[in-house]
């Protein structure tokens, strides 16, 4: 007799299989936290320093997924109540958006052992600022003999076709255009002078990356020789042997706070809290501030050293005096700015 499966069995079996394949697997009994992280330096320090610290402390696993801030806010808003991750990492602007969308939980600062060790500007009620990102001039020392000193140097005719910028979907891109506007007589709500300046810069612009991930590749592949970029990203690249250096512009480095948040509806708010606590301990922040990452600490107990002291700020107090923009105002003009960028900055 040949083995056979009758139709009924086949259909039932097939249906059962399909249902099984489509049913979401419930989270395993093992404690599991899902968190968002940024590309580049962030992803590295979170994987190499924070994750081991967290695992040792809580005996739970953590999965880190790389997502830009704006993508996280969009995902949280789209999945309200069923968030795909428990901890969000957001820059100032997106944090304000997320608060407005109501997708964050207030940070239980009263329970925190380290919250009050942070500098006062870093104690956000929606989640502590775990670092600051400062932007300035990145350049390739092999190709550019005299280091640029100010934003105005970007207009140097010697840099024709060699300057790299990035689109406005990241805080980096947005902060740069706001800073240009500010220096040319505009403000957070009046970007007009910034756009006018940007247009005169176009002959020098060799490439505008569409996102941060591609922005570092511009420098690494020597597609451009001078670029607007983050302090840590460049220091990390430099540590890997890439020909690159970073300069704080004479007019100051525009900076913004980066916060960690417990997401509303998080499956494991307890673990999310522990994870964020880990990030603001002096121990973890000191490890992240070391070469090659140079993540700027926000906990005042961490002694500043290395490139952070040489290039950004000598004391925790100086850190609070970098150029901070008003992101509430920036958020109001962001949609219009992206639209205008597309319209005017095309080839």
């Amino acid at each position: 007799m040949t083995p056979s499966i009758d139709r009924r069995t086949f259909v039932r079996g097939g249906a059962a299989f399909a249902i099984a394949a489509l049913t979401p697997v419930p989270a395993s009994a093992k404690d599991q936290l899902v968190v968002a992280t940024f590309p580049g330096t962030w992803n590295e320090v979170h994987r190499e320093i924070l994750a081991p610290y967290f695992q040792k402390k809580t005996n739970a696993d953590v999965t880190q997924t790389i997502m830009l801030a704006t993508d996280q806010v969009a995902k949280l808003a789209a999945t309200r109540g069923q968030p795909p991750f428990d901890v969000a990492i957001l820059d100032e602007g997106p944090t304000l958006d997320a608060v407005k969308q109501g997708v964050l939980e207030k940070y239980p600062a009263a329970k925190s052992a380290h919250f009050n060790e942070l500098g006062p500007p870093f104690r956000n009620e929606w989640g502590p600022a775990i670092s600051m990102q400062a932007i300035g001039l990145a350049y390739n020392p092999k190709k550019v003999k005299t280091a640029p000193r100010s934003w105005d140097d970007l207009w140097n005719p010697a840099y024709k076709g060699r300057v790299g910028l990035t689109a406005l979907n990241s805080s980096l891109g947005m902060a740069f255009i706001v800073e240009l506007a500010r220096l040319k007589g505009g403000s957070e709500s009046n970007l007009e002078p910034g756009f006018l300046a940007l247009r005169t810069l176009l002959p020098n612009v060799g490439a505008i990356s569409a996102n941060l991930g591609a922005h570092s590749a511009l420098i690494q592949q020597e597609q451009v020789d001078v670029a607007v970029h983050n302090f840590n990203f460049i220091e990390t690249l430099k540590g890997k042997g890439v020909e690159v250096d970073w300069v704080k512009p004479e007019t100051g480095a525009p900076a913004w706070r980066t916060n960690l948040h417990i997401v509303k509806g998080a499956q494991r708010p307890d673990l999310a809290f522990e994870y964020i606590e880990g990030h603001i301990t002096p121990e973890v922040q000191a490890a992240m501030a070391k070469p090659p990452h140079f993540v700027i600490p926000t906990n005042r107990k961490v002694v500043l050293s290395g490139a952070i002291v040489d290039k950004v700020a000598r004391t925790p107090d100086e850190l609070t005096k970098l150029v901070f923009h008003d992101w509430t105002k920036i958020n109001e003009v962001r949609a219009a700015a992206i639209e205008r960028f597309n319209r005017e900055i095309k080839l």
Binding site: V11, G14, A15, A18, L68, T70, D71, V73, A74, D97, G161, L165, T166, A167, L168, N169, G206, A207, I208, S209, A210, N211, A214, A217, Q221, E222, Q223, R334, A335, I338, E339, F341, N342, R343, I345, K346, L347
Partner: protein
């Protein structure tokens, strides 16, 4: 008819339910979202559609995207057609090896393949270094962040989608037809133009539809190779949805885009069918 076949349509039920739940329903949601006048989604209006269709910049982006797809598809066809023919005529063992080589890129992630192209096309990339070394150019050519660069990469990345349907079609063409054509006095070119080419049209149409749809929506390749100065619809939609938080506008753009691409796909299909009717008529 035996009673048994009456119920056969029910076999399609699972896939129909799957489509209804995971494709038609979300599309419906997308359409509803596109009908809101403002990002906060309070009043219903057609404002998003007039905003997209009534603006030359937006229409320009739409047309650029459709044209980008045509260019990449044509390059794919030019490269893929002869290759598929060679593979179809190869000895069985060589053939399976060649098919494997063609499919190989599909086994790597599109992100990885695209990043490899950044290394190749960059100012200090493999291509420029080679051309400089050979002395064909005096200074690096700009390839990354240009439209020709994007077309080149799209054509390579999507090539398997062109070759596979063509290969199937070529293999189905009866080799005796070519012999018959030769016996009747037609030369090789004439045989190709009158017999092989028309018979391969369904494969050409199938390949073109697949490649076209993949190229116009290739967000990763378009943004990584094209950068932010070359804006095509997928990047534009992404900016509106995440950067500007304007979901209704992004939804309206995607609905318009879907119909525009559908229109081109129908044209390609009609071209494939129309010519075939001529041959058989």
């Amino acid at each position: 008819m035996p009673a048994r076949s009456d119920g056969e349509w029910r076999l399609a039920l699972p896939v129909a339910a799957f489509f209804a739940l995971f494709f038609v329903a979300p599309l419906g949601v997308l359409f509803v979202v596109s009908l809101f006048a403002e990002p906060t989604m309070q009043t219903l209006a057609l404002r998003q559609y007039t905003r997209f269709l009534g603006d030359r910049l937006h229409l320009g982006i739409l047309v650029d995207t459709l044209v980008l797809g045509v260019k990449a598809t044509l390059v794919c066809l030019l490269l893929g057609y002869p290759l598929a023919w060679v593979i179809a005529r190869a000895r069985p063992r060589v053939q399976s090896l060649l098919v494997f080589v063609v499919i190989l890129p599909l086994l790597t992630s599109v992100v990885v393949r695209t990043f490899a192209w950044i290394v190749i096309l960059g100012r200090q990339g493999i291509l420029n270094k080679t051309l400089l070394a050979v002395g064909l150019i005096d200074e690096p050519v700009r390839l990354l962040f240009t439209e020709p660069g994007v077309v080149m990469v799209l054509a390579q990345v999507q090539l398997p989608l062109m070759i596979l349907p063509l290969l199937t079609t070529f293999q189905r063409i009866d080799p005796h037809l070519a012999d018959a054509s030769a016996a009747l006095g037609a030369g090789q070119w004439r045989t190709f133009a009158r017999v092989i080419a028309p018979l391969s049209l369904p494969g050409v149409a199938a390949g073109c539809v697949l490649v076209y749809a993949a190229c116009v929506t290739a967000f990763v390749t378009q943004t990584l190779i094209g950068g932010a100065r070359l804006v095509w619809v997928p990047l534009f939609m992404y900016q509106q949805a995440t950067g500007a938080n304007d979901w209704p506008f992004a939804a309206a753009i995607s609905i318009v885009f879907m119909f525009a691409v559908l229109f081109v796909v129908v044209l390609i299909n009609a071209a494939g069918r129309g010519r075939r009717a001529l041959v058989h008529g």
